[in-house]
């Protein structure tokens, strides 16, 4: 059954047990005509001390490899997400800046002129042309806003497959922002939860480190209802609790990808306890979501 050429051995040949990256590479790209008795050969090659240990390593390796391969084949990896979030933000920011410019310009000819992206949409939809330059600019603003919406929809679809636990806790857009701020899911997974808590508040953090300001209690996670919906006196605790769960979620998403529904329930319970101290900021104290800016 075996062909004994040493060059094309089993997937484990030359691997350090536990080096999942190298294992993924070997499993993904290796080829061989005939199978062989890998469990026995792997034990003989000292890759594992017993067939049982070999199978444990094989499970770990095939899970990691296949997970990575699925992500790549779906074109849905975290790097794509990082670019999408940044592109969405750029489109939104640019659309808003141009909408301001448009409002200023339009206000110079029409005292009744409105403001914002909505106003740009109205001008762009104008049937009777009054000012072609103005309308052309409005059309571009509308397209940029539409592009931002499409990028957001893409994020809402993709984030749950890339980071199911994080998306479940934070909502897809905030989850994607955290991944983007950290520079990827892996680096987010490796950050201590104290860092996750202030991601996006770098300016305030540096001001604090230079001794100009109090230490920031929260960064972008402020937009989550668990923080925003909590009485200001307790927001620090809420942010700490939320960041802790988000860190766990990011780690599970990076290392296993398995959805753990208990996380959401745990967070809800923690936040409820915290909010019970001074009551909630908002009426309902819902701890889910947090997807707006």
């Amino acid at each position: 059954m075996t062909d004994d050429s040493a060059t094309d051995a089993g997937w484990y040949g030359g691997l350090e047990p536990g080096d999942l990256e190298a294992a993924a590479d070997a499993i993904e790209s290796g080829t061989r005509e005939q199978p062989a008795d890998w469990p026995t050969l792997a034990v003989e090659a000292d890759f594992a001390s017993s067939p049982e240990e070999y199978y444990d390593r094989l499970h770990e390796a095939t899970m990691a490899t296949t997970r990575q391969a699925v992500r790549e084949r779906e074109g849905a990896d975290d790097r794509q997400l990082v670019h999408t979030v940044r592109a969405m933000d750029d489109c939104e920011r640019t659309a808003n800046e141009l909408a301001e410019r448009l409002a200023e310009w339009a206000g110079s000819v029409d005292p009744e002129a409105g403001t914002g992206i909505e106003y740009a949409r109205t001008i762009a939809a104008r049937e009777d042309s009054q000012n072609p330059r103005l309308e052309s600019l409005a059309t571009r603003i509308r397209s940029l806003a539409e592009e931002a919406d499409e990028l957001r929809e893409y994020i809402e679809r993709q984030t749950p497959t890339i980071a199911p636990n994080l998306a479940g806790l934070a909502g897809p857009v905030l989850a994607a922002r955290l991944i983007s701020l950290a520079g990827g899911l892996e680096s987010l997974a490796k950050k201590p939860s104290g860092t996750v808590q202030v991601l996006g508040a770098e300016d305030a953090l540096f001001a604090h480190l230079r001794g100009h300001a109090p230490s920031p209690k929260h960064g972008i996670i402020y937009t989550h209802d668990a923080v925003r919906g909590t009485h200001p006196a307790d927001r620090g605790s809420a942010a700490r609790a939320l960041a802790g769960k988000l860190s766990i979620a990011a780690r599970i998403d990076h290392y296993s990808g398995e959805l753990n529904p208990e996380l959401e329930a745990d967070l809800a319970e923690r936040i409820e306890t915290i909010q019970a101290r001074h009551g909630t900021k908002t009426a309902d104290g819902d701890t889910r979501g947090g997807d707006d800016e």
Partner: protein, 224 residues
């Protein structure tokens, strides 16, 4: 065709048909096939046991129909066309090391979840028509190949993967007629697939699975 005493199948001690690890259990007053493991597709459970739905699994239908699969429990298995893991999760519940090959990324995501709680289920994103891309991972001499790829060239897939099967092993094959040819009569398609299989296998038993899966044929074969 269903033989009472299949001479070709080795060591079928009892005639109970069901491999050990597969039992009939009561779910809501009906007796159903069941295996022990974490639920995967919303199937009903009874303690550690979870129902194995023959309507959603061709192998389940083959067992339900009493086909002599040669399965005893604990065998090393290669499963081709694992999809989201509905059937292969049951296989992993009663078999030993189980290699699951699937080439579509989408269902493989769910297959990964099913494999999470099954330490002897090994998911592989690969094309079953290219065994050379996983022969460095899947071991030689597996006891059983289970195939449900529902794609054109089902006999060829079985023949290509014969290299993994032990000489005394079994092929359990579900053939979907419409995957080969939507227009032909299913019986003509089945005859052709069987004839093609003969290049590498001896067919021991075959049965239409229509009670559970329209225009599907279940085949039990051993390597030639």
């Amino acid at each position: 065709m269903a033989r009472k005493r299949p001479t070709a199948i080795l060591e079928v001690g009892t005639m109970s048909n069901l491999p050990s690890g597969v039992e009939r259990h009561q779910f809501d007053g009906t007796e159903r096939l069941a295996t022990r493991g974490n639920p995967v597709y919303g199937e009903p459970t009874d303690g550690e046991w979870r129902a194995w739905d023959p309507h959603r699994s061709k192998l389940g239908a083959m067992c339900e129909l009493g086909m002599e699969t040669g399965l005893e429990g604990g065998e090393t298995a290669l499963y081709l066309g694992a999809a989201s893991g509905t059937t292969v999760s049951h296989v992993a519940d009663f078999a030993g090391p189980t290699y699951a090959v699937e080439f579509a990324p989408r269902p493989t995501r769910d297959l990964l979840s099913a494999a999470e709680s099954r330490p002897r289920l090994f998911p592989l994103l690969a094309d079953a028509r290219k065994p050379e891309t996983y022969a460095h991972v899947v071991e030689a001499d597996v006891d059983v190949i289970i195939q449900d790829v529902a794609t054109r060239g089902q006999a060829r897939v079985a023949l290509e993967n014969r290299r993994f099967l032990a000489d005394d092993g079994h092929l359990l094959l579900a053939v979907k007629a419409r995957s080969e040819d939507v227009t032909s009569d299913p019986n003509a398609v089945f005859a052709e697939v069987r004839a093609d299989l003969e290049d590498g296998y001896v067919v021991l038993d075959s049965r239409r699975l229509d009670d559970y899966h329209a225009d599907h044929l279940g085949i039990v074969a051993r390597p030639r």
